[in-house]
Symmetry: D2
Subunit: 301 residues, 4 copies
Amino acid sequence: MQLGMIGLGKMGANMAERLLNGGHKVTGFDPNAQARSGLEGKGGAAADSLPALVKALPTPRVLWMMVPSGKITDDTVDALMPLLDEGDTVIDGGNSNYKDSLRRAASCAGKGLNYVDCGTSGGVWGLAEGYSMMIGGDEKVVDALTPIFATLAPGKDKGWGRVGPVGSGHFTKMVHNGIEYGLMQAYAEGFSILQHKQEFALDLARVGEIWRYGSVVRSWLLDLTTDALNKNPTLEGIAPYVVDSGEGRWTVDEAIQLGVSAPVITLSLMERFRSRDADSFADKLLASMRNQFGGHAIKKE
Amino acid sequence: MQLGMIGLGKMGANMAERLLNGGHKVTGFDPNAQARSGLEGKGGAAADSLPALVKALPTPRVLWMMVPSGKITDDTVDALMPLLDEGDTVIDGGNSNYKDSLRRAASCAGKGLNYVDCGTSGGVWGLAEGYSMMIGGDEKVVDALTPIFATLAPGKDKGWGRVGPVGSGHFTKMVHNGIEYGLMQAYAEGFSILQHKQEFALDLARVGEIWRYGSVVRSWLLDLTTDALNKNPTLEGIAPYVVDSGEGRWTVDEAIQLGVSAPVITLSLMERFRSRDADSFADKLLASMRNQFGGHAIKKE
Amino acid sequence: MQLGMIGLGKMGANMAERLLNGGHKVTGFDPNAQARSGLEGKGGAAADSLPALVKALPTPRVLWMMVPSGKITDDTVDALMPLLDEGDTVIDGGNSNYKDSLRRAASCAGKGLNYVDCGTSGGVWGLAEGYSMMIGGDEKVVDALTPIFATLAPGKDKGWGRVGPVGSGHFTKMVHNGIEYGLMQAYAEGFSILQHKQEFALDLARVGEIWRYGSVVRSWLLDLTTDALNKNPTLEGIAPYVVDSGEGRWTVDEAIQLGVSAPVITLSLMERFRSRDADSFADKLLASMRNQFGGHAIKKE
Amino acid sequence: MQLGMIGLGKMGANMAERLLNGGHKVTGFDPNAQARSGLEGKGGAAADSLPALVKALPTPRVLWMMVPSGKITDDTVDALMPLLDEGDTVIDGGNSNYKDSLRRAASCAGKGLNYVDCGTSGGVWGLAEGYSMMIGGDEKVVDALTPIFATLAPGKDKGWGRVGPVGSGHFTKMVHNGIEYGLMQAYAEGFSILQHKQEFALDLARVGEIWRYGSVVRSWLLDLTTDALNKNPTLEGIAPYVVDSGEGRWTVDEAIQLGVSAPVITLSLMERFRSRDADSFADKLLASMRNQFGGHAIKKE
């Protein structure tokens, strides 16, 4: 198939390359000239504007957006809409909030455009191993895109699928990331307990290596964790500072809106907030309270 | 009544003073000479050894231990046992683990001695306001001590009582402290949210003051918290470092042994652990994992 | 002063009565005729429509809304705006989301109307004991309402105050309720641990009674809890089903938006969700997983 | 090598079979005659008492215990000690608490016996896929057992290893299970959120299937979870009742003793407690409190 890739950053460039390797034609657009020539070097074509990109594609057009969620995605959809024709398809492969995808899909539907939200997992490993894709959209529209998904995925029939109507793809990806937070925190706590048990002087990378085969906790995240520990056994030089990128918050918001208890996912998110607050007001207040009622000494800063 | 007070530290000295003010006779023992003369200055008598203390008391003797829990309490009970006579009563007013109290009571019972475990709350405020006392022991034994408890308590019939057999006093006090952890954490989180909402520039002490009257969250801890915020509105100079002194851990241990879910008490304890770990291994590992799968930048130390 | 009270339900009727007792003139409106005649019976006046209410008040008018948050509050503000004149003041004493209050205040400001958001705590006890009020609004506007707040509050200078600009009153009340969730959960867990320790056969009401005086955990919520346990020691007939009314959710949303860790408040909310899910899908899935990897038996429904 | 297997239950029988398939000689003991003849049917030998088993093995003997942790393990070690000779090795492959293993190892050392604690993961899948083994013990002793571990493991050099001195094997396995609790809970919460989003009518097994390839959350537990959902998409007939078998509790105990915050592992444990308490006292008390302060209706049982 032929496809227009909008956004040739880390993710978009890799996906375009995987598509090219799979025999598809890819024309890419990115405001950055270097990103465009990168794609040309891999055998793709490049357009230096959205109108040029749209013009370069045969109808019905297929456009895959791989741009930062939020305003840039909104701007891209807004810019595309007047350029496209009925029957064209816009795929958002980024990390959009599913409510935004529902809203954008409704706008596009008003102009006869198809909208597909594709939650994409796999990170920097996707180029080599394939991407896991959770897809929301009309059945016919998604079916027509099968060759693309089959190429991007880890296998023709593996790691991708339509999960429901528009919005459900990004919803499922959001929950995927919520789970990811919980899994990561569980490993982090476990290794931390091992690390604190100094009398056993445990080799954490060795433990991780053992767990990778045959154990109940084996997983891809464990593979990566073990790799990190092998490279840097004491995690020297790494700040205890953990960023969150939005989907965890959305998952908790959604749990609260649905009235579903999700303590582990929620705590995992809050532990990240905590990691970034080296001067916790709450803790200072607790220390003050203890001093107030019990005369307990306060540690000075 | 007449009573021997063992341990004249912050708590013991205050309790002795409140008893003296209430018309009781108190003979105190403490290895520290200054502590002993302090009691004499308040109108009490002092003994410079446990045998001397025991000798100074009329039979049946009443001895109140107000010493650090653990080894020192054990040593004190061991030293007392051979000195006492059948019918004498030993009260542990400290923060002992209830399992230790059960064990010590059994030892004492073997020698015909009465044992009473009295969980004592009130901190440095107890001298003026009275102590809340949760008492475990035989009904008759506790009844005979009524004049003492009635004086130490905030009121003759207020803030004290027998809650059950030996062990139940310290058990109840342990849970009291578990609740205390949860209450403190709830206030700390709430004030922290207020403090982070910079656009409203809230005066936290003023908010605390408002809440102290008529609100659902009014409490003695809130009074203290407001006082702390009045004195030091930005908590300047206070390290975000919160000590725990044991009862919180015991409460969680007990909850787990009983199979009772107690998430809030448990999390309050763990937040204190967290406050003392400025260089969290778990967080470093999380940052490493994110780098591994997503190529996300790691903050360097 | 003279004031129009909109909404004569449980809260509005009590507040009107407290104002009347304090020497103010109150004209009330409620769609329910019985509620209106109730106010007349207490010495107030009643209007049978919003226009009639507005007409009955001297300018500049003061209108206190005590209606359910959300749509009804919006409808009331919308209905009032065309009826009022520049310089009139609308107070929202209900449990509105502070973001809604900001929005409504902006609408009112566009028409020269003053808007005050007053977070009100005290529940059914407010009539007798006074209400705790956290007030947001322009300083001059709030100052002009002093006689009203001084009467509604537990004391002339106690339990009320302006905390900041419009929005900050409901924001502060929202966090108040978040803290309330945490406090309640801490007590509930503690009493649950006591209750599960069957070997001590603890009398929970008696324990609560002891803690009410002199202990670190004494509070108004403990007074109420003890009262509940006195009346119904085994909580017979009460379903383990805990409702939440919105402010807890908003507090957690806000914590997440601010990136503030608030594990105890959040868990308290989620425990309520859990209490209402007697057929947890998550737990069924956990039981299935255990069966899958370990062959562990599954309990059948 | 030749080895005596004590305990021919689900785990022991499978391990014996895997060893036989790998060319080792296994003599087994189990009080159950059927279990013994089962082993004989697989090509092993059986002894009908511990003395007979010991007698049947060449020196230095190697005995692998695969019996329930706690009293039965203690009884087995006690029974073995007088039967064995210096230089013999006892391996505990079960789920013992590492503190018990330290104690038993010390007893054995006093008699010149080697003790090895081997935490074993893999469940019912171990026979086919191999067991993950975390081994504690003296380096020389463990080295001498290499052929056995290499056969039981998923691969000659995969999924097994000495992690440290005696005790460290079961310690590591304990933490492994703590992590397992956290991972399971993270998945359970995520699938529960998906399941509650009824407007998307998500096919959970399909989602699981997609995630199994290329996604960040892919793991063996996800494979099993997806399998469970494929077989029983609505989890019909399964009670929301989740058992815990001890290691989770030990992990939390250890975290608390080390002062390490482990909120996710701890909450995962407590959620299991919660799943088994259909009539929560804490929730009843919360409902009572709400009624007390706000007059909120109580749901009746």
